[in-house]
Amino acid sequence: MREGAVVLVTAVMIAGFTSLNGSFFTLANSKVLADFVAGNVAVAAAQVMLMVVGEIDLSVGQVYALSPYIMYLVYQDGLGFKVGIPVAILAAALVGLINGIVTVRLHVPSLIATLGMGFFLSGFNIYISNGWYQIMPEKQPYTAVFGGGVIAGIDVTYLWTAAALIVLAIVLARMRHGIWSIATGSNLFGSREVGVNIRRTKIMNFILASVIAGVWGIFIANRGFTFGASGVADPAQGGDTLTLESIAAAVIGGTSLLGGSGTIIGAFAGSLLIAVLQDGLILVGAGAYIYQTLLGAAIIFSMALNIQARKWARR
């Protein structure tokens, strides 16, 4: 199992970091790791769904900042989170719909379509925010559901994240949309020939990726409420770092850019590996550049392994 190998590597890394710095293997640090994974892994899983249909989304990091800021603007207008959150999610869905239509109907490769959307939104985010983050001091019931609450000592974001991963894994294995996604990515023309609605399948995954990015952006903006502080709508939240880490997690977890294969558990394993690598290197006092160097090597190594494994399976 591909994911098993990633988990094994992660376990070795955890043992290594723990031997170098005892505070790695503590409850406090596991919270740091969990926060990182919960912020990224759902987006990585949505990226997997897109990569399965043979597409990619380079604008998720910008949607991750856009949605909470729109939520803030509506809330600021006096309409509260009750209106702000649905509007913010709709905005994310709209971005996904546009990405999908530009890719599927106008035949612009998604790499370019979403690169353009990413640039557009990074400018747009700064335009609507004047480049400043905003504090949202007032806790409301809706913020508790959307990332600001704690149930039995567990952040709701963790629960939402677990739920999202389980639902996506079920969709991929046990629902028609999952089978159609694999079919579309594996053999586009063959799938269409048989009667698979390849356009709708692709567009739905674009919308899914955008909505998940927007919703998890809202969760993270509301995270301050979980420890008695305020929410923050930050136009610099997420960004290209999140986008690239979501792709990295998917690829390390065994998802192929060629389409047709990818797993949600792989996205989780990849995301965990990235979290351990980043956090562990900080704790042992290594510079940030080492993290980037190692992550880069891990991505290339994983992809090479993936492609060679496919070739080997074909024999």
Binding site: R176, N187, G190, G195, R314
Partner: protein, 255 residues
Amino acid sequence: MSETVGDETPVVKMEGIGKNFGAIKALDDVTITLHHGEVLGIVGDNGAGKSTLIKILSGVYQPDKGDIYFEGNKVKFNSPIEARKMGIETIYQDLALIDDLSVYHNIFLAKEQFLNGMPVVRFLDNKKMKTSAARFLTDLKIDIPEIDAKVRLLSGGQRQAIAIARSVFFSAKVLIMDEPTAALGVVETKRVLDLIENLKKRKDVSIIIIAHNLAHVLSVVERLVILSRGRVIAEREGKETSIEDVTRIISTGAA
């Protein structure tokens, strides 16, 4: 409108078919019939018009002249989709199978079966699809090591067999096979020819085979139509003819 031969209505009758591509007469007054449960071979040299003829039947081309009757009714196919809706399936060499899906998901692709329950959130009934696909493949004596195996891992003959089985499973009435053994090795070819034999016994699907390899065609067909330069020049019963006979007709262009 109805067209009958004796007391049996043929599944397909193509009558007086003519097709020109610019100045080239690809087909000229071609008439063929396909009876229920029959395996018909169409042979001829390159450029004889075999491909044009089946592309007209499968809706890819529209004829300039002549009529097509399907189960006695005059029909007109403007696209392959229209032909497929009637139950005319074409199996191409380059198959529309999904490498990354299992055998049973391939067979049920776009015709999935669901568990009973919620109307909007519908879960696939993988178990049911798996058992019915396995049973059907066993009925057709198609030997697949694992019904869960991804199609990527199967051989060319197994893939061909699954593509054929998929069409038959969803009640294709006419199967058009374009060079079904062209890319296959000896064992694999036998596998596909055996499958055609099994389908012949079931009598619920009529088959048209187009092939260059006369030995393969002659071993399974019941009737043979020989085309030359866009015309039918001979018809033979499968059992009564020999490779030498057919080769002579094709090379001299005369029965």
